[in-house]
Amino acid sequence: MNPNTFENYQTENFFDEMFGNSNDSNIFEFYKPIYDRITDLTESEFEQKKKQADSSFLEHGVTFTVYGDDIGTERIFPFDLVPRVIPDKEWQKVEQGLRQRILALNLFLNDVYHGGKIISDGVIPEEVVKTSAHFRKEMVGFDVPQDIYIHVCGSDLIRDEKGKYLVLEDNARCPSGASYLLENREIMKKTFPRTYQKMSVRSVEEYPEILLRSLENLTPRKLQKPVCVLLTPGVYNSAYFEHTFLARQMGIEIVEGKDLIAIDGFVYMRTTQGLVQVDVIYRRLDDEFLDPLFFNKNSLLGVSGLMDAYLKGNVAIANGIGTGVVDDKVTYAYVPEMIHYYLGQDPMIEQVPTYLCWREKDRKFVLENLSELVVKSANESGGYGMLIGNISTQKEREEFASRIKDNPRDYIAQPIISLSRHPTFCPHGVEGRHIDLRPFILYGEDIEIVPGGLTRVALEKNSLVVNSSQGGGSKDTWVLSN
C-alpha cells in the first residue's frame, strides 16, 4: 500500500488535527490544499520527496545526540512530511495566551528575587520557591538588565481530546528546537513549493533576527553594535548543531567557556586580534556550569568570574540566571494564580491539572491512583524520569511509589491527557500519531512569537512521549494568514 494513502485512516477516540472529532472523515477546510496534494502523489513521487528531505537534513547536518545510548551518538532528527496547519484565528488566541503567560512568569521571577510579595501575600507557599532546585539565592536583590529574566521561552502546548489547547510545561532555561523549526521550513518549502505558496503560510525566518535584537537590547554599553556571543558547552552537547546554526544565522561568535576570560569584572573573548569585551552572552549552558567560583566547582565549561561581571552589570546573560524556578513542575501548578495576581485576569490558555505530592492529600490520591496518572519528576526534562500509569508495569509503579514517599517535593502527577493526533506517514499508509507544539517566545523590547513553532510527533504508535530523546520526530507547523 502507498505510504501516502488515507484509505485506512482512523481518528479513533482522539482529537485529530485534520479531521477533528468526527468519524465521518470531514476534513477541516484549511487542510484541504495540502491533503489534496499529498493524496495526488504517486508512490514514486512520494518516495522521491521523502528521500530528498532526508538527504537535505543529512547534508545540513541537522542532528542531535541521545544521552545514555552507547551505539550511535548523533542522529538525524526524524522528520514527517505532513505539515501541521493552524488557522489564523486559532493561532491569534494561542499567541496572546503565551504573551500573557511569559509576562506573568517574568513578573514572578522579578518578585521572588526581590522580596517575594506573592509569597508574603499568601498566594504561593514560600517553601515551593525556596526548595526549588533551580532557585539561585545569589540572584536575590539583583536587578537584571531591562528587568527581563526569560528572553527565550518554550512553553509546550498540547491539545486534549476536545481540541482545547493546554500548557503542558514551561521551559525558561535553555529551550532548544528553534533550529529544527527553521530547517523544517526550508525543507518543506522545497518539498511542496506551490501548496506552501497557495496556502499563504506565515514566515518564521525572522527568528534569528528577532533573537539577536532581543539580545542586543540587553547590552550594558550603549554601542551601535554590541558584542553578543553564544556560549555552548561544546561539541558533545545534544543541541550542538542548534548552537552552531543559531550563531551562524545571527552572525555572532560561538564560544566555549575557555574562549572567554573575566578580568576585573568584565568579560572578554579571546580572538586572534586580542581580547574583545563581550556585552551579551546567549548561553546554552545551565546555571550550574556557568561559573565554577559560584556554582559547580568541577565545571570546566564555564568562566571563572562570570557571575561577578554579571552582578556588577558589566555583562548581560540570556536567559537570566535562576529562571529554572519556573521550570519546576511544582511552580508550574501555581502559574494560573500568578496570572490572577500580577495581571488581575484569568489565564487565556488553561493548563493541565496538577497534583503536588508534597501535599499530603494529593500524595495519598496519587499513590492510590498511580495507574491512571502520569507522574513526573519536578525538575527533569526531555521525557526523563517519568511514569505513564496506564502503560507501566507493577514493578515500575512500586518503584515510583517509593520514590514519591522518599521525596515528595520532587514529584507531581497529572491526569493522562489524550494528546491530539496528526496524520503522519507510516510504512503502510498515513496513520494518526500524537503531537505537541513548542512555540518560541522571545522577550526583548517587546514580546514576539514567530508563528507556530516546532510540532513534535511521537512516531511510535500510541506513544504519548514526543521528546526527541525518546524517539520523537518533528513536523513543520504552518500558521496561515487569514
Binding site: 491569534q92 504573551r99 509576562l103 513578573l107 526581590h114 510579595k117 500580577y342 495581571l343 488581575g344 487565556m348
Partner: protein, 284 residues
Amino acid sequence: MRLYILHKTHYRYPSPVCESFNELRLHPLTNDWQSCESCFVSVLPTTQVRQYLDLNGNLVHHFEIPNDHSKLLIESRSTVGTQKRVDFDNLPYGATMKSLHEVEGNPNCRPYLQSSNFIDISPGIWRMAVDIQENSKDVFQTAYQIMEYIYLNFEYCVSTTSVNTHANEVLERKKGVCQDFAHAGIALCRCLGIPARYVSGYFYDPTRDQSMRGSGASHAWLEVLVNGSGWFGLDPTNNRVVDDNYVIIGSGRDYRDVSPVTGTYFGRLPESMKVDVQVKRLDS
C-alpha cells in the same frame, strides 16, 4: 483592522518613594465597532493588580506599592480589532441645531453638557463658538467646523501646557497638544448645547511618512452626540473624523475621568517620566 499597542510608562524618582496608590485606565473598550481581544497590564516593582469597572464603564486596574521604590514601570499590551465606524459618503448630517433641546433633559447626556473639571461653560466661549458656527444649522456640520477651526488656528506644541491645563487657557492661548485640543473642542460644543465627551485612546498613523500627530503617545479626541445617530469621534489634532485607525480606551467628561495613570505616593517628584507608545498593524 487589527492593531497591537505597546504602551510603556516609566517613572524614576530621585530618592525612594513609598505608599504609592495608583489607578490605570489602559484597557481598550469593547463596543459595537471595536473589540479588545486581549490587554495585559503589568507593573514593576511587582505587586498584586486588581480591576474594577468605573461609573463611566471604563475598566480600571489598580494597585499599591507600600515599600520603598525608586522606579515605577507600567506596561500595557493590547490587541484590538476595529471596524469601519463611519461611512464617509454618508456622514450623519440631518440633526438640526434646533433639535438639541430634545437631548438636554436626557440624564445620559447631562454630564456632557455641563462644566466639568477642565471645562467651563461661559459667555466668552459661547461667543467664540457662535462665530465658528456661522450659518450652520446642522449638529454634525457645526461640530466638524469646530474641529477644523481648532486644527487650523491652534498651534500644536508640546511642553507649553501640562496635564492640568484648563480649556479656558487653551482657548485663549491657542496652543497645546491633543488633550488640550480635545478639551477646547468639548468646551465649544457644550456651549452650543452639543453633548461632547473626552475620549482617551490610541491612533494608528496610516500615512507612509508618519506625518500625523499622536501615534507615538497616548492620544485623545472628542466625541459628540448626534441626535438619532449616536456618538461620533472628531480628532482636532489631525482634523479627522474618527475611523478604524483609532482605538478607544475610555471616555468621560474630561481628562480627569480617563487619565491613563493617576495616583498618589509619598516622596519627591519624579526626576523623569517617559511614555512610549507603539501602535502596530497586525493584518495586511
